[in-house]
Symmetry: C2
């Protein structure tokens, strides 16, 4: 593929606490603020604790999931007395780090998340055509896969106006999703992995900004296909738990006939359908969203060699 | 030791949801209620979802930790408009399953809990002299250690009047504490282990009630010595996370010089003191209680052969 020139990354925002009970990002951001970490080479670094009220309450959110508030509709809705806290907060963050879709938006927005699922470190990206994000993925993939946790890319194909998550406010953006870690708990192993991933990303941004060019290549990404709910009784209550063969086996190919649920009375329910890759298996926050797990296809994408386009 | 005759166990209460985000007990109790499980041989079985408001909210408690409300002082405090929900609920439960310390109290109370710590299955007992509980421990120890998770006994030496937990309401009582399981998540492996432990306990109670006698023996128990808090800055904020060598290593002997904390800036803090056994390492609910982990001594106790004393 032909070399692509990409506009420079002058500034990056590192965000934590978008979900108040996902503690890795909260403590990473606080430590960066304590260290007054405001520059990485020539790149400006902004750190934001995005949902302080939810962090203080030790909950995912207080009135509405903040990471579902960054659609064009909600970002432009008038603020009234009855506007939910998180919608208000999303508009503040959009003013600080965006506005989304504008030339003033931060060049790169990284939002730090945790999951109770056994997903290792995932970069969750929207556009698949984004060469910069592909390169960052590749770097983390080679570094981290060798040392501590598997690194994967998940792709959600949602148009920008409907994209509901914080990272959609930046010109480029991705979420770093790491697990398993219980909500409300901070684990050293996961703290260290995320810190390493951020350090590598910032090192790469410095090299890129100073004119270094990077090889092209391919990247494997998991593309969301559908969600699977728990089986339910006539009153809508779940009647089963994730089967122990599926539990902790995110990204292990699920084939027709594999057990996926165990009912509370002991029966086993099996998967029927095309071979797909499960992820977010038994994620705590998805109980209320009626999602037992997601299913994805795995595809390989090519990305071109890149270098910085001079201003 | 001489054979001991023990009063019969006519009835047992199995309780779940004392902490509303510890889901194994909630779902075990609901399934037993759905199956109309009211007898095990000649033994009456009562099942109780003890803190339904906290279960509905998906939180440990709503106004006060219910499992700290069963002291004589709180159980006899007058109910006023400002009485906290959980204190009110404790008095209701004491009326239903107690009164604590009376002849009317349920013969055996089993309360089902989860922890985010890697503790396997623990029986948490108050009195060390209780032959019945020692026998139950022994049975679970031999059955479960062989199959799926380690089984241990933890002993808290608190006089009955000051005992704050639900199981103190029964004539005999223990908590079954199983982990690791994130709050708000239900795992099949842990559901199955607790179900197996309850089935074994009920089988044993049937045998005991029908006149079967049981050999004496010894049981190893961990006795609480002290709690260790996180290191904190001058504003009282934690400055470190449990070190990854200690994380998930509950009940592995901690020796002077072993790392116990990693500060957010990367320093390692070491343990100083006598060799002791850590437990409840990085338990989510203990962050607010300012407990990073507990430390215990391990001791061996003897218990006598027992048989039922006829009424």
């Amino acid at each position: 593929m032909e070399r692509t020139s990409v506009p420079p990354i002058h500034n990056v925002a590192i965000c934590g606490g978008t979900h108040g009970n996902e503690l890795t990002g909260v403590y990473i951001v606080r430590e960066m603020q304590k260290q007054k970490m405001e520059k990485a080479g020539s790149v400006s670094v902004t750190t934001v604790e995005t949902n302080p009220r939810a962090v203080a309450a030790g909950r995912r959110y207080t009135e509405m999931d903040l990471n579902r508030c960054f659609t064009d509709v909600l970002l432009s809705s008038p603020i009234t007395e009855s506007t939910l806290y998180e919608v208000r907060r999303a508009q503040e963050l959009n003013a600080q780090l965006g506005p989304k879709g504008s030339a003033e938006a931060v060049d790169l927005l990284i939002d730090l998340h945790n999951t109770t699922s056994n997903m290792g470190l995932c970069l969750i990206l929207r556009p698949n055509r984004n060469a910069i994000l592909s390169v960052i993925h590749k770097i983390l993939y080679f570094k981290n896969n060798l040392s501590s946790v598997p690194v994967r890319a998940i792709q959600l194909d949602i148009p920008s106006s409907k994209a509901y998550s914080l990272e959609s406010v930046g010109k480029h953006g991705f979420a770093i999703e790491v697990g398993p870690q219980p909500n409300g708990v901070l684990r050293a192993d996961i703290f260290n992995v995320v810190k390493e991933a951020l350090d590598l990303t910032l090192q790469w941004l410095q090299k890129f900004s100073s004119g270094h060019s990077f090889e092209g290549g391919t990247v494997e990404a998991y593309t969301f296909v559908k969600s699977v709910d728990y089986p339910r009784d006539s009153a809508g209550k779940a009647t089963a738990v994730i089967h122990q063969n599926l539990q902790d086996n995110d990204f292990k190919l699920l084939r027709s006939g594999d057990p996926i649920f165990q009912t509370f009375s002991g029966d086993i329910l099996k998967y029927e359908g095309e071979d797909l890759y499960p992820f977010f298996v038994n994620e705590c926050a998805y109980y209320e969203k009626k999602i037992a797990f997601h299913l994805a296809q795995r595809k390989t994408y090519s990305f071109p060699p890149i270098s910085v386009k001079n201003d």
